[in-house]
Subunit: 337 residues, 2 copies
């Protein structure tokens, strides 16, 4: 696709032009160096227009009804006049992203909504790389005037902490009846949730959902409290019966108010920015190192010896670091900016 | 202190000579490059004698009675003929380490026990650096014939995941009555525990401890199950009345048996070795980068701009990476091996 001059992207995004927004996101997602330079130029200019949205992360194991929930939740927000963007992190995704309207088989109503913007998951690249793309996409959406950003995790057990590190509010969707369906959920995630919503609380499942709500509510009291003094509530919801959706938005609003007042919201975002800086540096250093010619082959041998306990990890690391002293040229080639 | 030839360390460690062991650990903890080279030489030679201990991580907030618990638990093990080493991770510690017998104000009985070896926390250095020292110390202790290694976390909220990443069994000590005393416990830690022990379950506190046990037991059922199919038990214990101590060792033994049989113990250790390799590489790359002359000052400026949202983290990272292209000389100087 033909690229525009930076000013066209910037003006289009500020005007809320969805087509330009999509094309700017394509730049962000591109692996081409020229595209990435253009993306950074655009992002730097719109930076003052970012940061005004409520950033909500939504996670839950497959089968919990994430898409259905987001559709109902997003519709509730757009019905009340809010502009909503739905993004996703899927580190395992290999599928291409082309459609501007997003994955049409999911969130069919929301994707037709003029106040909603759904962007399919960027594919490929490293875990950290994919997270950065989502972060930058979030900034572009904010600059385009979207007031609520919903970032969903796709895939299991990898992206939850990444999403938690880029949002103001982290929502965990759960099914009634603990047990097998939790398999695949990363341990430690429950304790990061700012709220837990038990989904599919309708029909035959309503009573079980209410029991689960009480169980989780009791369990959360035993958790270490967040430093923000926020107590994560547990509620039931039904996308089918449109129940609990309004309550949830109220909870998020209360959370934002409380944390804005006590200063934790700003402090959290500042810390997230610093973490992003240092994780980017780390990623770049590792990319440069591991992409050095010949290193991968040597790495395989060292990993095998280390795994078996035949070589000390410290010694293995030293061998790899000494094997391939980085030259400035080698670094520039692998920089990836 | 005068250094010995490598063979003296190796022979002494293999013979279980505690004085030589302590001197070898001093090498591991030293910041001197010559000491570190000697430490690696020793470690490589004793590597075949390592890996045979049961590695137990013990964590809990200050006030939970960690030292008292470890003293009682360690004594139980030495009484049954086991050789026990007690190590600690304290990334925040700045105090020096000199005494071979350890911090004598703590664990007074255990420190006099000929079957026990208590090593005070290594101080200083980065979080990852301190962790590596503890890992290597653990290997030296194993080579010296210690059959149970207890690694306790010191300090709050930083070292728990590090300890979890280097042990076979992760024990969380908790107080009865959830609430304020959990403040400072890192979120996500409860879900990593292989067992939870409610401490100080004696006297007036016994009933509350039993209630807490039931509460946590119920709560743990709601957690995502471990991939190992191990269900973390919750028990009460009293170091004062020597209650629960035997049960806990039985639990750890059962855990080891089950995970050895289903292959998870070996797989876990292999994965830990690989993680150790890659975290060492990451640490080295970061040490080299951040130690470049002039970088720290520049970093302060960039961090400030990024924190305020005036500069994109990606752009800030790029500035720092471009500001100081690493020369092979610069790397070697900061290598720290």
């Amino acid at each position: 696709m033909r690229r525009l001059p930076p000013d066209h992207y910037i003006a289009g995004i500020r005007a809320g032009d969805r087509l330009v927004l999509s094309r700017a996101i394509t730049l962000v997602e591109s692996q081409l160096e020229s595209d990435q330079a253009l993306a950074v130029a655009v992002l730097e200019q719109v930076l003052p227009q970012t940061g005004r949205s409520v950033r909500v992360g939504i996670t839950g194991v497959p089968g919990v009804g994430k898409s259905t929930f987001i559709e109902a939740f997003g519709k509730h927000l757009t019905d009340s006049g809010k502009k909503v963007a739905v993004l996703a992190i899927d580190p395992t995704s290999q599928r291409s992203h082309g459609s501007i309207l997003g994955d049409k088989t999911r969130m069919e109503t929301l994707s037709m909504d003029p106040r909603a913007y759904i962007r399919p998951t960027p594919s490929g690249g490293s875990l950290g790389g994919v997270a950065n793309k989502t972060r930058e996409t979030m900034l572009l959406c904010e600059a385009a005037g979207f007031e609520v950003i919903l970032i969903e995790t796709v895939g299991v057990g990898q992206s939850e902490t990444l999403v938690h590190g880029m949002v103001d509010f982290f929502l965990l969707l759960m099914l009634a009846g603990a047990g097998d369906e939790l398999q695949g959920m990363k341990r430690g995630i429950m304790e990061l949730a700012d709220a837990i919503a038990i989904t599919k609380a309708d029909g035959d499942n309503a009573a079980a959902a209410e029991r689960a709500r009480l169980d989780y509510q009791n369990a959360l009291h035993l958790f270490p409290p967040a430093s923000t003094s926020w107590t994560p509530p547990v509620l039931t919801c039904s996308a089918l019966q449109n129940q609990g959706i309004t309550d949830l938005w109220q909870i998020i609003t209360d959370h934002q108010t409380q944390l804005t007042q006590n200063g934790h919201r700003d402090r959290n975002r500042q810390q997230q920015n610093l973490d992003w800086l240092h994780s980017t540096i780390r990623q770049q250093l590792e990319t440069r190192f591991y992409n050095q010619p010949g290193l991968r082959e040597r790495l395989t041998d060292v990993e095998e010896a280390v795994r078996k306990g035949a070589v000390l990890p410290l010694q293995g690391a030293r061998r790899l670091l000494n094997f391939a002293p980085q030259s400035p040229e080698g670094q520039a080639a692998g920089a990836g900016f």
